[in-house]
């Protein structure tokens, strides 16, 4: 039932609005709305009950194991939430004078410093509001760098075919042509193809390492050399940073620019799809181009650095300074882990992934890259089951919901047919992983014995499988007052 369907004309929540109707006679009629906005008219209890019950229809980390590959669904410490919502932070207007902002600014400065250290980069800007905006900032900086050097002929960005879809989309947004680089059989970038592709048109390459195939790109040093030698720069997509946190640093691998998904690696909440935060880090040569604002320190005092300080900046990406509240959560998380906690993230997320991979393999699941180590995630392919029993990756995913587990990522990366990309994260216990493996074992049995059961899943959720075609064809994206 929609909140609109609970609406009754004249129902109100009097505590929440000013007591009287204001005198708005000063407002000329020609600017005035003729009918009240069609918002629901409900009581406070209606609202609390409606949204509380809606929330219960969600899977979430706080309620379920959520091994969604490439998404790093780890525990979001509750203290990060409460400290980011301290009144001093919550009420601070973004334009508050720096004299009453030193608390916030000091956190942001220290966050920049910590992110520099853990990525091996030379400077950081926190302003991008999501991974995709971080990508944009990164490629825009590459663009600005070449332009500032008068190196105008570089029109191409190289993107491995295993890359996230955002990578080519971003390159396009920045005015580049995208050139795909194939992957070799073992999951690494095809070096010969890369060498063939680089040249004077190469502005740079966008790389995720570990790649979306769940393996570490072993020849990263060679790739860096090939691209750098051709005059291109290296962009690091930080989606999988969790896998190598504190173990290897993108800066040391030779990357020139990197975005980090703070909502993955640094455990800020995903919130049903956002807000995230996509801080960017750069090597020395890209420093002048960082998006503004950045926090600087002068003696004991922190201040915003803006276009005055960074005249070559690619500019502003948000009206203020990015998703500040998310940044505060990441700051708290990093302080809780501390320097010794960072590599443990990589250690245990890798251990968990390799453990689940080993156990699924022994159950008879096919791995996409059976000869490789898993990083913090790995790929199972259902190609064999899809052919034999018609049971697809989607079917297994839906059936997992019935067993109380969120599904892994399905059909990504596009390179592997019928794939499940499984990322358990370091915060899940062996017992949870074992229970998950057990469910996967049962589903494998079901797929053989009663494939229709698997294909019909889920059965235990608020809804059965949806008609997605109808959703797109008979578009219904907003409740219509007439229909209510």
């Amino acid at each position: 039932m929609l909140i609109f369907e609970r609406s009754r004309p004249g129902r109100r929540t009097p505590s929440q609005a000013p007591a009287g109707r204001a005198d708005v006679a000063a407002l000329p009629e020609r600017f005035r709305r003729r009918r009240p906005a069609p918002l629901p008219e409900v009581s406070e209890l209606d609202v609390v009950r409606h949204y509380t019950r809606l929330s219960q229809k969600n899977f979430s980390i706080d309620t379920h194991f959520y091994p969604l590959g490439s998404c790093t669904m780890k525990y979001n410490p509750r203290v990060c939430n409460s400290l980011a919502m301290l009144p001093g932070f919550l009420r601070r207007h973004p334009h508050a004078p720096e004299s009453v902002s030193q608390g916030f600014l000091s956190c942001m400065f220290e966050l920049q410093e910590m992110l520099k250290d853990v990525t091996g980069m030379q400077a950081v800007s926190l302003t991008p509001m999501a991974g995709a905006q971080g990508e944009f900032a990164g490629v825009a900086m590459i663009h600005a760098y070449h332009k500032a050097r008068g190196d105008e002929g570089r029109t191409e960005i190289l993107v491995p075919d295993a890359a996230h879809g955002t990578n080519p989309a971003t390159a396009t947004m920045c005015g580049y042509a995208v050139r795909e680089i194939p992957t070799d059989a073992s999951g690494d970038v095809d070096m010969e193809a890369l060498k063939a592709a680089v040249g004077p048109a190469t502005a740079g390459i966008m790389l995720t390492n570990p790649s979306t195939l769940g393996v570490f790109e072993r020849r990263i040093h060679e790739i860096a050399k090939v691209v750098h030698d051709a005059g291109g720069l290296l962009y690091y997509d930080g989606a999988n940073l969790n896998a190598i946190l504190g173990k290897v640093r993108p800066g040391d691998m030779g990357f020139d620019v990197i975005h980090m998904n703070l909502h993955k690696t640094f455990s800020t909440p995903h919130g049903g799809g956002g807000p995230g935060a996509g801080a960017v880090g750069v090597s020395e040569r890209l420093k002048p181009f960082l998006p503004i604002p950045v926090v600087g320190r002068e003696g004991e005092r922190y201040r915003w650095l803006t276009e005055r300080d960074l005249p070559q900046s690619i500019g502003r990406l948000s009206a203020f300074a990015g998703n500040a509240g998310v940044l505060l959560r990441a700051y708290v998380y990093m302080r809780l882990l501390g320097r010794e906690g960072m590599p443990k993230v990589a250690d245990y997320s890798t251990l968990n992934a390799n453990y689940v991979m080993a156990r699924l393999r022994s159950l008879g699941y096919d791995l996409a890259f059976p000869e490789r180590r898993a990083t913090h995630e790995f790929i199972v392919t259902l190609r064999r089951q899809a052919k034999a029993q018609g049971v697809t990756a989607m079917d297994v995913a839906k059936r997992l919901l019935d067993y109380g587990f969120h599904a892994p990522t399905t059909y990504f990366p596009l390179l592997v047919p019928e794939c499940l990309l499984i990322e358990p994260t370091e915060t899940e216990s062996k017992e949870t992983l074992d229970a998950y493996v057990e469910a996967m074992a049962k589903i494998l049995e079901e797929a053989a014995a009663e494939p229709e059961k698997v294909k019909g899943a889920p059965y235990t959720q608020p809804n059965r499988r949806f008609d997605e075609v109808r959703a797109a064809r008979e578009l219904d994206v907003a409740w219509q007052p007439e229909a209510g």
Binding site: K57, R92, M129, G131, M253, G274, L317, T350, P458, W479
Partner: protein, 455 residues
């Protein structure tokens, strides 16, 4: 090892199952030369108690006084229920609703949000939100370029009465795509888009016109005329609106003869705390014919295998997972949690509550203007405004605001950086949060600060 549950026994058993000697072995594909030694700039771990004490001390440093700053981020009352529900684990720690059957909570909230935004803006389609108002404007400009197939120029008219940061972000984002953003000056008497300046573009190939309501100075633009001008000149009309004001003001879908093509804005006034500038969210609504040019996620209602209604992410063919380099945008997140807050906020206030809030803003703002006029202050521009106004203070705006802040009143936003001709002026905002006593205090602190500076 905070948040890592493994016991020594667990690790032993897991390594045995893997067939590895140590955790370290699992990293053997990483070239040894690359391995990092230690992280020196990251302090050692602290406990929750220690970080709590530290953060409380820092937050206490930033306790603001009475706030009259607006300029794109507005202080409103947020019902306590809003964030108590939003931070429930099921909303807070869920991911993008890729498995619709297990995410009906998030999906229905977004559908309701889309419906509310459609209702507020008077346009039939809303996406699931974008990063913030400024980036939403950038995306609307890109969308207008895609949608206006008759226009070849990629020229977009951007009045100087649009929020300076929105203009600057739009430039950053569309910079590499050959789109030209052309300034349109404002009338120094009214504070509105200068009709004569606009008319100078008549007959040219213009892709879109951006129309702010209220504009950055708090002034109400002649939106009907501007919208009609755009359409008469083959341009798309993009409204930039304050969502709270829409409880009272004509929705952009009804501006002029046929309404705007797209409306965008920042959703922050609908339940997001000021929070140093974010997370907020941008909304983007459009006419039906533009839906396939819309960036970002969209939730649609459909039925399941049993015929029961429910919600899914839809029109994903526009998105980068599938379209890759041909996607409408690289955006793949929305600001889901803040959208959840806005949805609950709007449901709590309802049409009348939100209208009362908007009305109290208008009245309070008028009330402060009257007080200041009485004390001889100059308030330029028209009095047809929402809840912000430009105030000439006769001294340097930034210096004055520093003085006022020291007296516990954040007096407004200095205009000199973005409008050099207004360097002795500040932008002042009054919302429903201000009482008559607050307005009196404002005037007193302002006069004292000015006297101090002058003297």
């Amino acid at each position: 090892m905070p948040f890592i549950p493994h016991t020594d026994t667990d690790v032993r058993e897991m390594l045995a199952a893997i067939g590895a000697d140590s955790i370290e072995t699992l990293f053997d594909e990483i070239p040894a030369a690359l391995r990092v030694d230690g992280l020196n700039a990251i302090p050692p771990a602290v406990g929750e108690m220690e970080i709590t004490r530290l953060m409380e001390a820092r937050a206490a440093q930033d306790v603001m006084g009475l706030n009259f700053i607006g300029a794109g981020a507005y202080e409103h009352h947020i019902p306590a229920a809003v964030w108590q529900i939003v931070t429930r684990g099921e909303f807070y720690s869920a991911y993008t609703p890729y498995q619709a059957e297990a995410s009906q909570g998030t999906l229905q909230v977004i559908y309701e949000y889309q419906s509310m935004m459609a209702g507020l803006t008077g346009l039939p389609i809303s996406n699931a939100s974008l990063y913030d108002g400024a980036s939403a404007l950038s995306e609307a400009v890109l969308m207008a370029v895609r949608a206006n197939r008759r226009s070849k120029s990629q020229r977009v008219l951007m009045p100087l009465t649009v929020h300076p940061a929105y203009r600057s972000v739009t430039r950053s984002i569309v910079a590499s795509q050959g789109i030209e953003i052309v300034d349109v000056p404002f009338d120094p008497v009214t504070g509105r888009v200068d009709p004569a300046a606009l008319e100078a573009f008549a007959g040219e190939d213009i892709t879109a016109l951006v129309i702010p309501q209220p504009n950055f100075f708090g002034v109400l633009e002649e939106v009907d005329a501007l919208t009609d001008w755009a359409h008469a000149n083959g341009a798309q009309a993009i409204g930039v609106v304050n969502p709270v004001s829409l409880a009272l003001l004509t929705p952009p879908g009804a501006w002029g003869r046929q309404g705007v093509d797209m409306a965008v804005g920042d959703g922050q006034p609908l339940g997001a705390p000021l929070s140093s500038g974010g997370p907020y969210f941008g909304f983007l609504c459009c006419r039906k014919e533009h839906v396939r040019q819309m960036p970002g996620r969209i939730v649609g209602r459909t039925v399941d295998a049993d015929g029961r209604p429910g919600f899914v992410l839809t029109l994903q063919a526009r998105e980068q997972h599938i379209r890759r380099s041909k996607a409408t945008s690289n955006i793949c997140t929305n600001q889901g949690l803040v959208v959840t807050a806005a949805t609950i906020h709007m449901a709590l206030l309802g049409p009348e509550g939100l209208e009362r809030v908007a009305g109290a803003c208008v009245e309070g703002c008028g009330s402060l203007v009257a007080r200041l006029r009485e004390r001889g202050f100059e308030i330029p521009f028209t009095d047809e405004r929402f809840h912000e106004f430009v105030l000439r203070v006769g001294v340097d705006g930034e210096a004055l605001l520093e003085r006022m802040a020291a007296a516990g009143v954040l007096g407004g936003h200095a205009l000199g950086r973005d409008y050099p001709e207004l360097s002795d002026a500040i932008l002042v905002c009054v919302t429903e949060t201000k009482t008559a006593a607050d307005l009196d205090r404002y005037v007193a602190v302002l006069e004292q600060a000015r006297a101090d500076l002058a003297g």
